[in-house]
């Protein structure tokens, strides 16, 4: 069983949305239920199935293409896999222009969402963008693929406990990425402290093999500037 599975079924977000000067937006179909939207007065909703969404969605795509480069979501895929299926959330500046985004897709596990394509013109608003996603969707758990270098470990760890699903991810474009599951508001279960140098390919491979054998690890601290990540080895 996942070390996160036994915890609170209905956690609250660990922090409120606090980005003065920014309003939140969500691109999703009119029929999509957003559990936390009533707590967000001023939330701008854009329906991708309406013609009027075109200009705004273009601006969001321009944002992600400028920030994510080769890892930007193709326009058709953002429409298929997030806008029509889940939601794209983000922040607007005072002029109503999108300044950040995060794509989300529901998974087969009740209340579980996958987050991806997170980006912003200013990295300072990334934490607020995560907060909007957690506040609007109220996920029981969310998953992400985070590159060991430059991934948003810190922002995610502020939200809740982080389980490591993969340490190396060769089925992904970036094999030196981790797949994580974050349970908002949850504390990391106690275990045995371990450290791994994420720049050591052999060490990451060993960690991946342990995970595949059923050993569970939680990420406790984001990778340091030298690439060392602090983990907690917990009962799987």
């Amino acid at each position: 069983m996942s070390p996160l599975a036994a915890q609170d079924e209905h956690p609250q977000p660990s922090r409120a949305v606090a980005d003065p000067g920014h309003r939140a937006y969500v691109i999703c179909t009119t029929g999509r239920t957003l559990p936390g939207s009533s707590n967000m007065p001023g939330l701008v909703r854009i329906d991708p199935w309406k013609t009027s969404s075109g200009a705004f969605v273009d601006a969001v795509n321009a944002l992600q293409q400028s920030r994510l480069g080769d890892l930007a979501v193709p326009v058709w895929a953002l429409y298929d896999c997030a806008e029509s299926t889940g939601a794209v959330v983000g922040l607007l500046d005072g002029a109503g222009k999108p300044v950040s985004m995060l794509a989300t897709t529901p998974t087969l596990e009740r209340g579980a969402w996958h987050f991806y394509a997170v980006c912003a013109h200013d990295p300072a608003v990334l934490a607020g963008t995560f907060s909007v996603a957690v506040e609007v969707l109220r996920p029981k758990v969310f998953s992400m693929v985070l590159p060991w270098e430059g991934g948003a470990f810190g922002a995610c760890l502020e939200i809740g406990a982080m389980e490591l699903v993969t340490a190396r991810t060769p089925c992904h474009t970036e094999p030196r990425s981790a797949t994580v599951r974050v349970r908002p508001g949850a504390a990391t279960p106690a275990g045995n402290r371990a450290t791994v140098n994420t720049r050591d390919a052999a060490a990451l491979q060993r960690l991946q093999e342990e995970i595949e054998q059923g050993i569970a690890y939680m990420v406790v601290e984001p990778p340091s500037p030298s690439g060392v990540v602090v983990l907690e080895r917990v009962k799987g």
Partner: protein
């Protein structure tokens, strides 16, 4: 018992597979319509050993969609496919393929295992009942010598059953030949007719209520019950963007429409799709 298909000769040589997060496996039907997926063909995307199979999914996608400009980046196979939803398909064993085909499929001399030749990818939209299908690929046209006629429809039908999908949403273009496949499953409710949020504005978004008759009919089961289809009232020509915009305006005004059946292709090779008006909800 396996539900018969329009190409049982090919199906007998192929093996079904499913790539999905093992956390979700209980949600799938791993023997859709009697076509049992061997345990060894349940591909776990979080395992390093699955990497080679994902390479081959990329080759299948590239051969199918590359020329149309919509190939999928590798990470999408992981994040917005297998890890969140499922990839169902059919594969040959490398050993059964002749040497020239192994080269065309970019297989190493010592390659082993499954070589996917068709796949249907869907992700949950309103789990577990509603799914969004975003990729249907088959090598039938690229490698006709494999005699895979009808495999796209068979793969989509069994994929929908494997995912236990009750309602499928998808997008395609008015000029796409894929409409011939999707309409085999039954009338398609139109959610959009002109779609500026999509990469191709002349896309339509459809909703398919998944029914036994549609699945069996699309697979080519000779005993499939008939599909109830409304009479078409007008057509949308694939080059008539004004008609698409007008239809979208009417949808946004609350009217409802369905694509009643497969398009016809005129002497100028323009596709015309039949549409009927439905009572408003």
């Amino acid at each position: 018992m396996k539900t018969p298909t329009r190409n049982d000769e090919a199906i007998q040589l192929l093996e079904p597979f499913l790539a999905a997060d093992p956390r979700h496996l209980a949600a799938f039907d791993t023997s859709p319509m009697g076509h049992e997926i061997p345990l060894a063909n349940l591909i776990d995307p979080t395992r390093a050993a699955s990497s080679e199979f994902f390479d081959r999914l990329g080759v299948l996608d590239g051969l199918t969609f590359g020329p149309e400009g919509m190939p999928m980046p590798r990470w999408l196979f992981y994040e917005a496919s297998a890890f969140t939803g499922g990839i169902f398909g059919f594969a040959f064993r490398v050993e059964t393929l002749p040497a020239d085909l192994r080269v065309r499929l970019r297989l190493a001399d010592d390659a082993t295992g499954l070589v996917p030749v068709a796949m249907y990818i869907a992700i949950p939209a309103d789990p577990p009942r509603v799914w969004y299908g975003h990729n249907l690929a088959s090598l039938n046209r690229v490698l006709p010598e494999l005699k895979l006629a009808g495999l796209a429809s068979i793969t989509k039908a069994l994929g929908l059953r494997c995912f236990r999908c009750e309602e499928q949403i998808g997008a395609t273009q008015w000029d796409s030949t894929a409409l011939h496949v999707h309409t085999k499953f039954g009338p398609l409710g139109l959610l959009t007719a002109w779609t500026p949020a999509h990469a191709f504005t002349h896309s339509l978004t459809y909703r398919l209520p998944v029914a036994e008759a549609g699945l069996r009919s699309a697979m080519g089961d000779p005993d499939a019950p008939p599909i109830d289809r409304p009479e078409p009232e007008f057509e949308i020509a694939a080059d008539d963007h004004d008609a698409m915009r007008e239809l979208q305006r009417r949808i946004e005004a609350g009217e409802r429409f369905v694509i009643t059946g497969p398009p016809r292709v005129d002497v100028n090779r323009v596709q015309h799709t039949p549409v009927a008006v439905m009572p408003s909800a």
